[in-house]
Amino acid sequence: MGFSVALTPENLFWCFVGVFLGTVVGILPGLGPAATIAMLLPLTFKMDHTAAIIMLAGIYYGSKYGGSTTSILLNVPGESASVVTCLDGYQMARQGRAGPALGISAIASFVAGTVGVIGLMLIAPPVARFALRFGPPEYFALMALGLTMVVFLAGKSMIKGLLAMLVGLWLAGVGTDLFTAESRFTFGQMELLDGIDFVVVSIGIFAVAEVLVNMESRGGTELFKVPRGIRNLMPTLKDLKDCRFAFLNGSVIGFLIGVLPGAGSTIASFLSYGAEKAFSRYPEKFGTGVIEGVAAPEGANNSETGGALVPLLTLGIPGSNATAILLAALILWGIKPGPLLIQDNPGLFWGLVTSMYVGNVMLLVLNLPLVPLFAQILRVPYFVLYPGILGISIVGVYSVSNSLFDVWMLGLFGLLGYAMRKLDFPAAPLVLGMVLGDGLERALRQSLMMSEGRLSVLITRPLSAAMICVALAILIMPLVNKVRSFRVKAVEQDV
């Protein structure tokens, strides 16, 4: 029944408008789907409700497709979830493999996005009920698990990775404490009361720092070599084969994380990247331009959108900023989101779900041909590109909250990122710490508030205990490996 709703010319048109806008919004750093949806709300008052939600949802999941573009080409995270894509994606671009990177990103997004929709369609209610069992202790365990990803992101020096992560955790703590309304590390600045925006930090440390590093030497007119011929601008069959696991990994992790209110696509992409690296045959190559390192996180942040719609449509609970606005939209139109939404508005629900299939196909068709086009951006002489990247960074940061203070911070974090590059500190753990720090601290304090100060609550509940075990296992792993290699060396020396 849903397809008959989704395939009407009117709904198809609005679906296209939505996904197109979403792609554009995703490409632009800083400007996110939440703000765009909010801005377009007034226009939807006069529209048919189903068409309107199809369009707005299109913006939401469409934006996840575009986010990887600037991450791969310019090391500018287009969206907070795309930070992880910068790690391997940008390296691939430097090696002349920007095309395959962009292509696999679109394909992974399509596969995972579609899996997300299938999940939404088939298992939404039971998954939503399962998600309700996640209270603060489980969130803490999940965040702790996320932090253990530092093991996979630290690169050569674990100490430096941990140090970077601690700085990230500190950055997350800047602002007003939720529980006591005390301000921490705000240096008397009103703009810091809400903390430091993640976009400012990520664009500063990745994009601006990269530009600064490249400014060190005068080079030729072309940035990276861009191979000619369409064959070299698309992922090969071998690439697709290599990414089989990544597609699965991204889809599942993204969807499950998306269902949890409050856990976002950034966490999903980090976990997915870590899982991919953990189960890979060549983990040491991650960070140097491995295509799975692009496929996994990009898939994760797409199926996360399907997951985030689960609590919204089955319980009336928004899981993230963008879904919160979708919720507000539904209320404004007089539709009551809640457990009875599907019962009361089957046309809307099924129309929306099937339109998401259609939307994902549209996005694949839109994005794939654009890949060779985008790859040409790298041909622009870099003395035009660098001010351009700086300009995009400023626009991206300013568009988040119209604050010049944020732009100053961008400059500062750019310098920090540069210093980190010179001193060989990995940037990813810092970003990881910053993303998870808030949630980690909050979840711990909430858990202790709820259990009257008993720490054991984290272990007595089965879900959180399970995740903590996995986290511990991940932490012990490198130590075990080191001991093992030590022993091997010792044995070899003996022989």
Binding site: V167, G173, L212, M215, F383, P387, G388
Partner: protein, 152 residues
């Protein structure tokens, strides 16, 4: 060579860690149930200090990290810092001159000072970028960017 880097980072981060811990002690360590606002920052500060010491110590006994073959020439860093100062200056001008002009000035500065190309190239890049950004972001997308007295 690279030991100097590690020592420098160690000292910087170590002192930062001490500062964080110090500030954190001013905040309540415990609240009604469980950690207060000072709890996490304190441990972060302690963690930073300890790990920094570890970093310094690990490198006093010779560097285990691979020798960095890239030369950290003063000129290279200098160029980057010049570029960075240009960026900060442009950010400062955003309020007075608006985004379009500030970007144009930044672009011109980078092309002239760092790339040492001809003024004509500088002006055309500056103009082109400013125009392009205005067209895409302000006109087509309706974002509001800092505007100077002339509206752009």
């Amino acid at each position: 060579m690279s030991e100097k880097k590690e020592l420098l980072s160690g000292i910087c981060l170590g002192s930062f860690g001490v500062y964080v811990a110090f500030e954190a002690l001013k905040l309540p360590y415990v609240s009604e149930f469980g950690p207060g606002p000072g709890f996490f920052p304190l441990w972060i500060g302690i963690g930073l200090t300890l790990l920094s010491l570890l970093l310094i110590v690990a490198n006093l006994f010779g560097s285990t990290a691979p020798e960095n073959s890239k030369s950290q020439s003063r000129t290279a860093i200098g160029r980057a810092l010049v570029g960075w100062s240009g960026l900060m200056l442009a950010i400062g001008l955003l309020h007075w001159l608006g985004f379009g002009l500030s970007l144009a000035l930044l672009a011109a500065f980078l092309v002239l000072a760092l790339e040492k190309r001809s003024p004509w190239v500088a002006i055309s890049v500056a103009f082109g970028l400013a125009l392009g950004f205005h067209a895409i972001f302000v006109l087509a997308l309706g974002l509001s960017l800092p505007a100077g007295p002339w509206g752009f």
